[in-house]
Symmetry: C2
Subunit: 368 residues, 2 copies
């Protein structure tokens, strides 16, 4: 059974290998550099991640002249990874596929045409790239961004999706100045926590909305320690005039929504005339409902943010510079968020936690 | 009874007169230029327009040195006029008030400091200004914009609200080029009809959505004669993939919504990736509901348009130039829409038609 799986999934990675053998003959074959066998989380069909993923051993693959073989150090389980496995994410790798889109690793070997990376370097895929949930990943040099080796491994593994989303959303939509204010829901998410801290570093205040739940007092304290000015549960906002709650803060010009439904409406209520709400998630699975007068008389703008847009080649360098800045903040302790490092062998338990089966849990980061 | 009404409402217009008498004494009083007595539609409290408005006679008022007295020729009944009377419009004149916000008139007399207007000139208030539903209107020179006297009176009376809304919405949000396409609901409205014609003049295609109703076939024909490329009733759009209906048209980058509810969702469905929907009305009184994925994956932007923003002094000249352009198109027969000219004495019947009591009716324009 295990052997059958190995063979069927090996076709994912050995396509180039076979092509090389047949087109270039023995000489090319004998000079091949190959990656070590890799342990990987793979899925051959879309469905519930705990039903369709398997941890398996795969054969090594050719490291071509422009390729870099990376020994993975750590990679997180992100909600978008789960959506890709479920098949509900608009951009996803062809099947069968190895899971994961971000992570950090150490260069093990490089092809003959690789110019800027050497064995021992630490690298992350930037933009994020498929197939990070495995012990050895082979991708072209251009996929990898070299980072400082004194980066905390769990931050290096998670910097390209959530913190970059926070940084870009704070700068891509509305020009904010020190003393301004933003409002957001889903504030306990990693993106939310990063927004609080990155705003604070620029002197920007934050109003934060969280769900009513057991432990909401602790969550409020945690967010305030990160620099949140105000934290409200949704039920606290069932008041006649929400803006009466803004005692010392200016009305926010920018809002972030990752929940939808009533929680999105609360963000809209806080916004000032002419304000913008950016949607980057829909955790409640409910749509966003907006009154006509919000558009006409309050002049609100509603936009969306998707990191995928930064795949655009002309955005790559800008994003890599931002990642270096974010990692610098993480090293200095100015950007932090809760994570749990778990052994790759415990993938199934980390997956269960990521799927919410065990209630609210910290971000799961696989350690290889 | 009539006399009591005259006195109570006369306070609206005689405030300046009284002040002048008491502060400047007999000499000033004797040199006063006054307007003729005026017949006016007034309301002293907010409520249903057919219950709270009255057609009354009012005393003449002082024409101060910077004032212009205009003999009104024609003025429309717009939905926003009715909303102001109802008290549901965010910007409305203090009570008691004379109704109406746009119209055209002929200058009857001017104050001593008036520089650019003379008796006989045709003028319209631009930006729109309160108190147009009366036979003589006195306002400062700066309120009035002189127009060509060969303008058709009903177009001159109605150009500053609906056609200007259409022209601005076509240029203020998305850069459109010849060959591009827009989509709109409420297409039989005057704004909708103007959008079709103004787009067509620029080589821009239009997809138009109308309500299912008796006479929808005639409405389709009418819109196509104006230049509409496609006209669909809402029920025709209950299909699996709405874009299959765009046989020869590009996906629209810009959409206009004046209805809300399902009709707004249909506009969103037609929009291309990265498209913008501008809301300028909410005829169904239903909110706009948007999925999270429309923002994140389809990158839609939702905005609003309100002519009131053009009250901004730095926008006045630009708007007046646009009005001259629109009147020129009306004179040339390139911009047309259906109106019914009714005598001011028949105000009550025109009001009933505007309130929809007699079913769908053309725009009512009062003739003085």
């Amino acid at each position: 059974m295990a052997l059958i799986m190995i063979r069927s999934v090996a076709t994912i990675r050995s396509g180039f290998f076979k092509l090389k053998r047949s087109s270039s003959g023995i000489r090319a074959f004998s000079s091949l550099l190959t990656s070590p066998p890799s342990k990987a989380v793979v899925y051959e069909r879309h469905g519930p991640p705990d039903a369709v993923t398997r941890l398996i051993e795969m054969e090594g693959v050719e490291v071509k002249e422009k390729d870099v073989c990376v020994k993975m150090l750590a990679a997180p389980i992100n909600p978008s990874d789960l959506n890709r496995i479920e098949g509900v994410y608009p951009v996803r790798p062809p099947l069968p596929a190895v899971g994961g889109y971000e992570g950090v690793g150490e260069v093990l070997s490089v092809g003959s045409a690789v110019k800027h990376l050497s064995p021992g370097d630490w690298v992350i895929p930037s933009p994020p790239s498929s197939g990070m949930w495995q012990t050895y990943t082979v991708k072209e040099e251009g996929v990898w961004h070299k980072i400082s080796k004194d980066s905390p491994v769990e931050y290096a593994a998670t910097i390209t999706v959530n913190p970059l989303t926070s940084l870009r959303m704070l700068q891509d939509f509305v020009t904010l100045n020190s003393g301004d204010c933003i409002v957001q829901n889903g504030a306990t998410s990693i993106v939310g926590q990063c927004i609080i801290q990155l705003a604070r570093l620029r002197g920007i205040h934050s109003i934060n909305i969280i769900r009513d739940r057991a432990g909401s007092d602790e969550a409020k304290e945690m967010l305030k320690r990160l620099g949140a000015d105000e934290v409200f549960t949704e039920s606290q906002l069932e008041v006649k005039n929400i803006k009466d709650l803004l005692t010392n803060l200016p009305e926010p010009a920018l809002g972030f929504n990752c929940v939808g439904g009533n929680s999105a409406s609360l963000v809209l209520k806080f916004l000032r005339h002419g304000g913008t709400m950016v949607t980057y998630g829909g955790m409640s699975k409910k749509p966003i409902t907006v009154s006509t007068s919000s558009f006409i008389f309050k002049d609100l703008s509603l936009r969306g943010f998707w990191l995928q847009k930064l795949m655009n080649p002309d955005k790559v360098n800008e994003s890599r510079n931002m990642i270096d800045h974010l990692l610098c903040l993480a090293r200095e302790g100015k950007l932090k968020y809760e994570m749990e490092l778990v052994s790759f062998d415990d993938f199934q338990s980390a997956l269960d936690k990521s799927l919410g089966k065990l209630g609210s849990q910290p971000k799961q980061v696989l350690k290889f």
